[in-house]
Symmetry: C3
Subunit: 286 residues, 3 copies
């Protein structure tokens, strides 16, 4: 029986990136929909639920993507509401690559650090990738500082993470200027920058004042770098005693996790591949 | 040569249901279009007509679907107008599953009854599935009462069926309330309910007053049932001497007919699979 | 590794014609987008560039189509702007079949004439197919008269061709009525009509006054013919000493070139199949 992946994308034109990855993860048939809203989800999911018998349902699955992570989360909630009982198919949500990128970033850090108990800072920690990286680190026992220009928003993000990881050790910190950023990063062994493309979050000068730093990961692919001095192709590159990763350096592992997640969709008919499940899958891969 | 099915769907997003069935009927490539209007049909059909040689044309076919059956009929008419002479491809119209569902319903009844000469009632007989079930029963020689809240509309439906099946024995009947419904069904051995989801057309009390009834088929999948007491999974289930079928009970056969119809598209380049052809195909399958 | 063709079509519904040809050229997966504007191109192309490694990039390619050739050229320019360095995929632009049709028309003429030094007329030479046929003939050393109702527009077209083929021998000529058309065609051995469907550009009477004519090619598929007396299926048919080709007579070769061009896309990751490249490919095929 052929595998079918139903791609629900919240952008008007469904992502070619996600389509190529699906093909390379051996999906036989890809049904791609763009501009999908929660109101349109029901018949699309019914068509997945009511066409193949119980034993064959695992050969159909749903992928939710698009550049807007919040919109993707709404689709995921709606999709799960349409299912009833065992009549369901597996679902992967990875809008804007948020889950696979966060998992790959943390797994890259894990090559150099013991995560449990380590001091970590997520710059732009309230964005979709930052929040997910913070959640994963917290689930591994790291002490995570969630940094944002607004401490209030950082605190909201910490609350949201605690709802998923009750044992999380989180501190919301302000990092709206160089002095705040330095204080936010003081004593941290890991810094992950998950900000908007082309915005420098950590300057060369501030970095020079962080002697404890061991791993710096910048997920921004467009110059200037989010962490000054980190190159986009860096992949564990030693720069003055700091292991550095750039967006493309993390990208190879992200891609493996993305493909692995799509393959995992077809192993059962009831998987919901969220942040934790995707990280677990990454752990199994590395 | 690869088989290609061009799916023209009148809904904005082309049906995943129809796409999965096409894959499971071994279509190699599926070109899916949503929100298709008659004005857009010509170039889409020309692309099917003018790309493969005469001997290979049978490897390309057209499927017309969507929730609006009248809109699907308009597309079918337009598609046939674009063809000229032998330069054509096969077409299947099954908007809202209307043809395959009607065929499966009648074939289910046929397991229990001799259709020729039997007294049959179609509740909500003016809707797309109801009208098609009535047409098929009439073509088998049944005496069919087409029931509707409005007798005038029922009469229109009877006229439409007679245009296709000149020998049809049809009676338009009003069934706007319990008393009328009881009169409409009196003496009938077969009742098929083809109404809107969630509307009860035949109550427990009325049913109790129909001793001649042998087969009750309810095509409504959403509770409450169109025929009180029929369960959605019923598949010939004996309930007080009446063989009962629910929507899912009929669904397995509907699915076989649907897949069979798609396979048949690729056996020639000039098939037009309409109500009669789809029923004939179902007869061959059972 | 599976081949992927990304079809960017400027019409609302992506062409079924181009999709069938892609399938018949053995493309494994076709990602089809309709109504594509230059503003939407960047993420679509990034998804092609950033998903497969350098050695595998040649298994992904882009096809640009649609009925509006100018809109297709804008997409092609935008696509090439998104690439950087060796991170790119091959692209074919054939909006409205313009490049493959022009190449097939010239290659048909070449069976009967030495193109270098021959006197050729392109009626409706300012349209997309006409301009491309003129360019190809000029690149082969023919002396090409570009005919149009407006001599000014013909002159503009000649300038545009000279920008691509500096050695081109071109003469803009007016052909707004029978007398002008006769003068325009006097002494020519080749006439190609590339006008709007259903418009006669060369009458029987005028043709009778062109004793030098050896090859007449009419690319119009809808009656009346663009060149009176040429039949749509003509394929080198001798009509009073003139080898005649109609739209379908040229169509077989056009189709071979179209398929060959798609196959060529997957031989490297940096081809840009424009008018000259597509003609060269046609030369290799015949």
């Amino acid at each position: 029986m052929k595998t079918i992946l139903i791609q629900l994308d919240t952008d008007p034109l469904p992502s070619t990136f996600d389509r190529v990855v699906a093909v390379d993860a051996d999906v036989d048939h890809l049904f791609s929909y763009g501009g999908v809203t929660p109101e349109q989800v029901e018949p699309l999911v019914h068509g997945a639920m009511f066409t193949r018998g119980p034993k064959d349902l695992k050969h159909t699955a749903i992928f939710i993507g698009g550049s807007n992570v919040a919109a993707g989360e709404q689709l995921l909630a709606k999709v799960q509401k349409v299912f009833f009982g065992p009549v369901r198919v597996s679902v992967l949500m990875d809008s804007n690559g948020s889950n696979t990128t966060a998992a790959a970033a943390v797994l890259s850090a894990r090559k150099h650090l013991t995560l449990s108990g380590c001091e970590a800072v997520i710059l732009a920690g309230t964005g979709p990738v930052g929040q997910r990286a913070a959640q994963i680190l917290a689930s591994e026992g790291a002490r995570v500082r969630v940094a944002s220009r607004s401490q209030a928003r950082a605190a909201q993000t910490c609350d949201a993470i605690r709802a998923v990881v009750p044992s999380a050790q989180l501190v919301p910190v302000a990092a709206g200027n160089a002095a705040e950023t330095r204080t936010a990063c003081e004593g941290a062994t890991l810094v992950i920058a998950a900000g908007t493309a082309g915005v420098e979050l950590l300057s060369v000068e501030t970095r020079a004042q962080l002697p404890a730093l061991k791993v710096a990961i910048d997920l921004n692919a467009v110059p200037p770098a989010g962490i000054a001095g980190v190159e986009v192709f860096d992949k564990g590159t030693d720069r003055g005693g700091v292991a550095c990763y750039g967006a493309i350096g993390v990208g190879g592992l992200k891609m493996k996790i993305h493909k692995g997640a799509i393959r995992q969709l077809f192993e059962s008919n009831d998987a919901v591949l969220d942040t934790a499940a995707i990280y677990q899958l990454g752990l199994d891969l590395v």
